[in-house]
């Protein structure tokens, strides 16, 4: 096997893995503070991608100008998700039903508004190739990787080195103790949910110039994100980020030998195997937030 080809595939895998990481980390963040799983997460990512296409191409504002608009959409949707799930009274099933309903509303609305046609988003400022030694890739991918890594680094700094971020971690670790030292748990949870949703929407924005986007792209990513958080350990941000990068690389490298469906099936089997052998996930509860 040609080592340059392997290196090339690995680089492509890192790009995709960094997009997965943004989605999975947001999912893990929401689970961390609320103990609920957001089943609309994949559709929020889809909305990010489709809204990017709508603003950049249909309205014609251009790709970079669309980013503030999609961020705003992410903030609004994040607040909507928070309002929807905040009073579920600890019933995980009810929260899942609510977010599933939201997912259906988002997907069918996108279908009704924009049809199922795959759409392309152009990023004229980033045409051409990016070269790093023997590795060559379209410049948009390199930019997406840097942006995704930057978002995750920012999230890390926010959670560990700002007061607001620390309140989120405190609530995730022990909501009662956090309330006792005067932390407004509702505000922290709201902030965490909105952050998680904005990450998913921005992941869609970053993906849009790389691949064709369409309203049914969400579900597949949701299931990948689920596999990532289960393998990494539910509620563990570090686990989600590391496993996401790993999954992106695995998919990209395995595409040299296996079909995409075989890679999906292996991921599913791996998820079951982790549940059987190490249910707390690779990074466990100790690594939570």
């Amino acid at each position: 096997m040609d080592p340059i080809l392997l290196l090339q595939q690995l680089a492509n895998g890192l790009v995709m893995g960094s997009i997965y990481a943004m989605i999975a980390v947001g999912l893990a963040l929401i689970f961390g503070v609320l103990d609920i799983v957001n089943f609309a997460h994949g559709e929020l990512y889809m909305i990010g991608a489709m809204a990017t296409w709508f603003v950049a191409e249909r309205i014609g504002l251009g790709y970079l100008q669309s980013i503030p608009v999609t961020t705003l959409i992410g903030l609004v949707l994040g607040y909507a998700v928070y309002r929807l799930v905040r009073d579920t009274g600890g019933s995980i099933e009810r929260a899942i039903i609510l977010t599933t309903g939201l997912a259906m509303v988002l997907q069918s609305s996108a279908m009704l508004l924009w049809s199922a046609t795959p759409r392309e988003v152009h990023f004229p400022a980033a045409t051409g190739l990016f070269e790093l030694g023997p590795v060559v890739m379209p410049r948009v991918r390199a930019i997406a990787f840097v942006a995704a890594a930057g978002c995750i680094a920012l999230l890390y700094v926010f959670l560990h080195h700002t007061h607001l971020g620390r309140t989120i971690r405190a609530v995730a670790q022990n909501p009662r103790a956090a309330a006792m030292v005067g932390i407004n748990a509702h505000a922290a949870i709201r902030l965490a949910v909105i952050t998680g949703v904005v990450l998913a929407v921005l992941a869609g924005t970053l993906l849009a110039p790389m691949y064709a986007v369409h309203p049914v792209m969400g579900l597949g990513f949701l299931v990948k994100a689920f596999a990532i958080v289960i393998i990494g350990g539910m509620g563990s941000l570090l686990g989600a980020a590391v496993v996401a990068i790993g999954l992106g690389s695995f998919e990209s490298l395995s595409s040299l030998w296996l079909s995409a469906v075989a890679a999906e099936a292996i991921t599913f089997v791996l998820m079951i195997a982790i549940l059987l052998v190490r249910p707390q996930g690779l990074f466990g509860r100790s690594a939570r937030l």
Binding site: I92, E93, G101, M104, I230, E264, A265, F268, Q280
Partner: protein, 330 residues
């Protein structure tokens, strides 16, 4: 006691409706809707069993449905089995897979089960499209032969018309529903309810939830698998669209509307929600939008189903009349 009486009368009334229906509406179109209704009644009950009684939300029922359908179709077409053992094998395979994913995911949590159940259905959908040597890929397996029953001494009966198939699917559905009803009414069923209502209390009584949950998953997977086989032999084709998310959305609505844990309520909701979309004839995307909004509304305002509505109105009326009296006293 009263509940089981209501349930028995309600069930008998629904069966009577089903029998009368076939004589009042003998057209192949109407009978086709009737067959679909019987399918949905079992599929929704399978979700009701695992969610309403077992306390586990599941997105796997449609996966089991499709797995049973494909298993039966492949056994009949490729290995020459007759329909009945093939349908049974489909149900058993679905049950085994269900117990396995249930066992694995419940080691972590109920949430893990929900996640794995959705992932399983999606993987089965992908495999149905991709494993062409087994499933014939996206085109599926067409030309499934009509099931037959041969009783010694009589000429064999072939279920090859809408009318005969209606009776076949009605008989199988009623048998599967009675099986579920029997399990729910048994000691195991009461254990399931106890665990769902108060898991810590049940555990404190020395009840291990896992075997009862696995029983609920396994039985629900079995009936979903068998009815999947019955469903596709009526269509005479099985293809990957059997794993469509629409079925999952529809049965979730049926269970929430009928009330999780209400046997007859869910059956009635299944009948209504099979017939209603046929009459309304709206586009798939608009239907999905409406279902999504309905799901949110039900989960927010009526988590115990529409059957709760009269009770809640009565309670509100009582509370306000109490308030009036207190004011009068004061």
């Amino acid at each position: 006691m009263q509940d089981s009486l209501v349930s028995a009368w309600g069930g008998a009334a629904l069966l009577l409706i089903a029998i009368v229906f076939s004589f009042v509406f003998p057209s192949p179109y109407a009978l086709g809707i009737g067959i679909t209704a019987a399918t949905f009644a079992v599929l929704a009950t399978s979700l009701n069993l695992v969610f309403g009684y077992g306390g586990l939300l599941s997105f796997a029922q449609v996966g089991f449905f499709g797995l049973g359908a494909y298993t039966a179709a492949i056994l009949v077409v490729d290995t020459g089995w007759s329909f009945w053992p093939a349908a049974l094998a489909g149900g058993v395979l679905a049950a085994l897979l269900g117990v396995f994913i249930g066992f694995a995911s419940l080691r972590l949590s109920r949430i893990a089960f929900v996640i794995v159940s959705l992932a399983m259905t999606l993987i089965l959908h992908l495999l149905a499209k991709d494993l062409a040597f087994l499933t014939r890929g996206p085109a599926g397996l067409p030309g499934l032969p009509a099931p037959t029953v041969s009783i010694p001494g009589l000429s064999p009966v072939e279920f090859d018309t809408p009318r005969t198939y209606y009776w076949l699917s009605l008989t199988v559905s009623v048998a599967l529903l009675l099986l579920v009803r029997w399990v729910i009414g048994s000691g195991a069923g009461r254990m399931m309810m106890a665990i769902r209502l108060d898991e810590p209390l049940a555990k404190a009584q020395g009840i291990d939830p896992l075997p009862y949950r696995l029983l609920a998953i396994g039985l629900s997977a079995f009936i979903a698998g068998v009815i999947g086989a019955v469903h596709v032999f009526n269509l005479t084709i099985v293809d990957p669209s059997i794993f469509d998310m629409y079925y999952t959305e529809a049965i979730l609505i049926m269970v929430l509307l009928g009330g999780p844990g209400s046997f007859v309520g869910v059956l009635a909701a299944a009948l209504i929600f099979t017939v209603l979309p046929e009459l309304l004839r709206i586009s798939v995307d608009a239907r999905s939008l409406i279902y999504g909004l309905l799901l949110i509304a039900l989960a927010l305002f009526l988590p115990n189903g529409i059957a709760e509505l009269p009770r809640r109105i009565a309670r509100r009326a009582r509370v306000s009349s109490d308030g009036d009296r207190r004011e009068a006293d004061g």
